[in-house]
Symmetry: C2
Amino acid sequence: MDENRLSKMFKALSNPNRLRLFEQIRQGGDEGAVPADARPSRGVGGCLLQHVIDALDVGAPTVSHHLKELVNAGLIETEKHGKQLRCRVAPAALGELARYFGGASGR
Amino acid sequence: MDENRLSKMFKALSNPNRLRLFEQIRQGGDEGAVPADARPSRGVGGCLLQHVIDALDVGAPTVSHHLKELVNAGLIETEKHGKQLRCRVAPAALGELARYFGGASGR
DNA sequence: TCGACAGTTCGACATTTATAAAACTGTCAG
DNA sequence: CTGACAGTTTTATAAATGTCGAACTGTCGA
């Protein structure tokens, strides 16, 4: 795997707030924050940015900025639904990283 | 796993030179750079800092600084042998990270 | 004891980063 | 169309980071 791509991913996760953002998205931060029937298409771990913003205590512009870096690093994918933005972890990225550390099939 | 500890690890790997340093150490950068019988106790992937410094194109002070951060993040362990410093990856850290991404037993 | 060598510590400096406030864009409901 | 809301862009700024050269420390061989 490319060194630059890797370090970009790590940089994206190197800031505590950004890491929290990542984790919120990963666990589909909606659960509990919103009644089940108000959650469109749950299941792949999608979550609305809106709720993440509430969960982290940084302003919306900052979250937007951080999210952009996560997307840019290939860790998160987003999809616009009307006014709202749905975010989910890019499964491929998780796999790459697990392999990098686990040495399972990488290296 | 603790968020702060994690982001510290990621920060340690977020700089391309530091990531290269980590990878050199991980693969026991000595192989080939030194005759086999001049390598004390190879096998656990130890490597002499000296050789790593040659491999990366940054000055010794910078490498020292970077190494300190890797050690501080718990990713690398060092051991002094006379004049030289032997470095190796902390196996536990690799496991933690693999688990974090692989979701195998973590989460 | 001296000189050479491995690595560290100490400033210094330019670059990057995290964050916020203000202003903007796009989408929906009425 | 208008107002409200979700998110983005812009601009500014304080703080952190990466890197270097110079000076320092500790260890070995002669």
